[in-house]
C-alpha cells in the first residue's frame, strides 16, 4: 500500500511524496513509515501515541478520524496524511 505525504512532512522523507509499505492497519502503516523515516515520529504522533490533531488522515481520499488507527487496510489502499498549515 501507499502512504501519500504532503507539505512539511516531505522534509522527513527526503522529499518523497509517496512511500510504499506493507501493513494491514493504519497504525501498522504509520509505524512502518516511521521505521523507514524515524524523524517523523514526533511530527506525526503526540507523546501519548495519538496522531497529532494538526494532521488529517485520508483513506483512499475519504477523511479518516485520527483515532481510527486500527482500521484494516488492503494492499492497494492509499493512506494520505495532510497537515493543516498556518500561513498564507
Amino acid at each position: 500500500m501507499n502512504i501519500v505525504l504532503s507539505g512539511n512532512l516531505r522534509r522527513y522523507t527526503d522529499f518523497e511524496g509517496e512511500v510504499e509499505v506493507s501493513a494491514t492497519s493504519v497504525l501498522e502503516a504509520l509505524n512502518a513509515l516511521i521505521q523507514r523515516h524515524p524523524d517523523l515520529q514526533p511530527v506525526i504522533f503526540e507523546d501519548g501515541g495519538n496522531v497529532r490533531s494538526v494532521h488529517r488522515l485520508y483513506l483512499n481520499g475519504d477523511v479518516l478520524e485520527n483515532d481510527a488507527v486500527e482500521r484494516p487496510l488492503d494492499a492497494d489502499d492509499e493512506l494520505g496524511i495532510l497537515t493543516a498549515i498556518a500561513g498564507g
Partner: protein, 295 residues
C-alpha cells in the same frame, strides 16, 4: 480611527505590465502591508507565529482597479493599509489603497482567518480566535462583531448565469518552491500570476473561434480580481486551473477554478472582470510621449 501604515513604493519596470499595475504586485504588496501593520502595531510576523503561536490564513482577496495608470505615469505610488478584526477575533480584514497625489490606482481587501499553531515543527494549526492578549492590543474601533462580506461567490454566480460562455481550457501546474512560502505550501500571492498564465493560454489559442474577442484581455485593463480560497496546495503538489471565458454585458470575464490534479478538490475560485473599453488610446499617447524622449 483604525490605525494604518503607509509607505511609498518605488516603481520599477516589473511593477507594471504593458497595460496596468500588475495584480501580482498588488497581491505581494498587500501581504507585505499586513506584515508591516503587524510589526508596527502588534508583533512582527515571525514572532506572531513563533512566540504567539498564531497564524493568519488568507480566505479571500479582492482587488479593484480605479484610474488608468501606466508605468510612465508615476515614479512611485503610496500604499496605505488598515487592519480590523471582525467576528470578535475570528476574522481579520485588511483594507488597502494604492495611490499617488493625483491618481487612485487601486483598492484591495484581504480577508483573514486567525489560526492557533498547535505544532511548531510542522506549523500545523487549526482555526481559533485571536487570543485575549493579542486582542487587547487592538483599539476599540479596530474590533467589530460583523462578519466580512463573501464577495466572490456572488460575482461568480453572476458571471456564470448572466454571461455567454466563449471558451474554456485547463492549465496544469505544480507548486514549486518559487511559488511557495515558509510552511511548504503555496504562497497565495502567486494566485494572480497563475491565473494570468491560464487566461493567456485561452486568449492565445489560435484554434479558438472566439480568439479576437478573447484577445481583448491582452490589451484591456483588468477591472476586478476576486478570489476565495478553499484549501491550500502543498509544495510540489500538482494542480489544475479550469478556466472559462464569458462575455457579460460587453465585459470580458473569466472564472478560474483551482482544483487538485485529479479534480477531486476545489482549492480556490477566481473571478476576473475586464474593462469594456479599450484603454490603449490613453496608454499609447503617454507611451509615445515617453518613447519620443527615450529615442
Amino acid at each position: 480611527m483604525p490605525r494604518a501604515i503607509e509607505w511609498e513604493h518605488t516603481v520599477d519596470t516589473s511593477t507594471f505590465s504593458a497595460v496596468q499595475l500588475q495584480p501580482g504586485v498588488v497581491a505581494s504588496l498587500t501581504w507585505n502591508a499586513l506584515a508591516r501593520w503587524l510589526r508596527t502595531y502588534l508583533v512582527p510576523f515571525p514572532q506572531l507565529i513563533g512566540q504567539e503561536a498564531t497564524g493568519m490564513v488568507v480566505m479571500g482577496f479582492h482587488l479593484e482597479y480605479r484610474d488608468p495608470v501606466s508605468f510612465f505615469d508615476c515614479d512611485a505610488f503610496r500604499v496605505r493599509a488598515a487592519l480590523r478584526i471582525l467576528r470578535r477575533g475570528e476574522r481579520g480584514q485588511l483594507d488597502l489603497h494604492f495611490f499617488t497625489d493625483r491618481r487612485e490606482l487601486a483598492v484591495a481587501r484581504l480577508i483573514l482567518r486567525p489560526v492557533a499553531i498547535l505544532d511548531p515543527i510542522s506549523l500545523g494549526a487549526e482555526p481559533a480566535p485571536l487570543s485575549e492578549s493579542l486582542l487587547a492590543r487592538f483599539q476599540a474601533d479596530e474590533v467589530e462583531s460583523a462578519s466580512p462580506q463573501r464577495l466572490t461567490p456572488a460575482r461568480l454566480a453572476k458571471v456564470e448565469t448572466a454571461g455567454v460562455l466563449l471558451a474554456e481550457t485547463s492549465t496544469p501546474f505544480r507548486i514549486h518552491r518559487h511559488l511557495s512560502e515558509v510552511a511548504e505550501q503555496w504562497a497565495w500571492t502567486e494566485t494572480p500570476a497563475l491565473v494570468e498564465g491560464a487566461r493567456e493560454n485561452l486568449a492565445l489559442d489560435d484554434r479558438s473561434e472566439q480568439k479576437r474577442l478573447l484577445r481583448q484581455c491582452l490589451r484591456r485593463r483588468l477591472l476586478r480580481f476576486d478570489v476565495e480560497f478553499s484549501r491550500p496546495y502543498f509544495s510540489f503538489e500538482r494542480g489544475e486551473i479550469v478556466s472559462r471565458a464569458y462575455l457579460v454585458a460587453n465585459h470580458l470575464a473569466f472564472v478560474h477554478r483551482f482544483t487538485s490534479a485529479r479534480g477531486a478538490h476545489l482549492h480556490a475560485s477566481v473571478v476576473e472582470i475586464f474593462d469594456a473599453n479599450d484603454e490603449s488610446s490613453h496608454r499609447s499617447s503617454v507611451y509615445q510621449q515617453e518613447a519620443a524622449k527615450i529615442l
